[in-house]
């Protein structure tokens, strides 16, 4: 992973996007067990239809986990100070999620260098599914770090 220096990142910079494979029913079965979210609406089509949904749908926390991978693919996880999302639209089986992030602010608070990111996940049609933001701590300006 490339180290991120405060002075080498400009407001407006885009993170490398992350596109996940289409979500299958198998993915949902795995995530049900792995995440402890056993709500049958995500894994049992009969239950989902009886509850008024067209079919099973994706756990919001799976989409958020994908967004987390966008962040941890760019900085070490311990650099993440905060991370929040709003689940805007339901994600369905077969959807492929692309996660994007953009630097929208930079702060130097007495030597604590942070970036604020705006986050968005879209499906294969470009429809927005999740929005959010994160704050990351990054390395001091590279020039200043030189002896």
């Amino acid at each position: 992973m490339k180290e991120i220096f405060f002075d080498q990142i400009a407001i407006g910079e885009q993170l490398p996007s992350l596109t996940k494979p289409p979500i299958t029913r198998t993915t949902l079965a795995y995530f049900c067990g792995a995440s402890n979210d056993h709500n049958p609406v995500h894994i049992d089509s009969d239950f989902a239809r009886a509850a008024g949904a067209a079919d099973v749908f994706v756990h919001g926390m799976l989409d958020m986990a994908y967004m987390g991978q966008l962040l941890t693919g760019w900085v070490p996880q311990t650099a993440i100070l905060s991370f929040g999302v709003k689940f805007g639209a339901i994600v369905y089986v077969g959807d492929s999620i692309t996660c994007r992030g953009e630097v929208v602010d930079k702060t130097d608070d007495d030597g604590v260098y942070t970036l604020k990111l705006k986050l968005r996940a879209v499906d294969q049609h470009g429809e927005s599914k999740l929005t959010g933001e994160a704050q990351l701590r990054v390395s001091a300006p590279k020039d200043a770090a030189q002896p």
Partner: protein, 146 residues
């Protein structure tokens, strides 16, 4: 009717062992490729006690109870009809395999919109590790649409 008297109420602490096997299963479920999330040697080489719990894992730990929807039911939401609308985390110390995490959840808000057509519950959870260190504080908003 929503029970707003539960606003501010904390629930009994939940103590959860962070299971390495489940962390590896989570990594498989989300298609994780970074070995610090599933390979002990890789995690230790990066300075972690053990494999690392990913950023959203606090919610998974909080669901490690027989009925994760008990609080939603307690305030009068129908757990079979709730959707997760927002989730946020603040991070302090990392959570690793083998840790023992104590989670304390507090209902911070219960409210309605559109004359009761949308019923919301917000809860905040504080997760502390076996060393007494704060690991993460997270906030969850769910809605029931009637």
């Amino acid at each position: 009717m929503l029970d707003k008297t539960l606003i501010g109420k904390s629930f009994p602490a939940l103590v959860v062992d962070v299971d390495r096997w489940q962390l590896k299963f989570f990594a498989k479920a989300v298609g994780e490729e970074n070995p610090i999330y599933f390979d002990e040697a890789a995690a230790v080489a990066q300075g972690y006690r053990s494999i690392l719990a990913p950023p959203t894992y606090g919610v998974t730990l909080g669901c490690a109870v027989p009925d994760p929807f008990a609080r939603a039911n307690a305030v009068g939401l129908d757990a079979t009809k709730i959707l997760h609308t927002a989730q946020s985390f603040e991070y302090f110390e990392p959570i690793c395999g083998g840790d023992q995490i104590t989670l304390v959840a507090t209902i911070t808000n219960v409210f309605e919109k559109r004359r009761g057509a949308f019923k919301f519950m917000v809860e905040e959870t504080v997760a502390t590790n076996q060393l007494g260190q704060l690991t993460t504080r997270f906030r969850q908003t769910v809605v029931e649409r009637t």
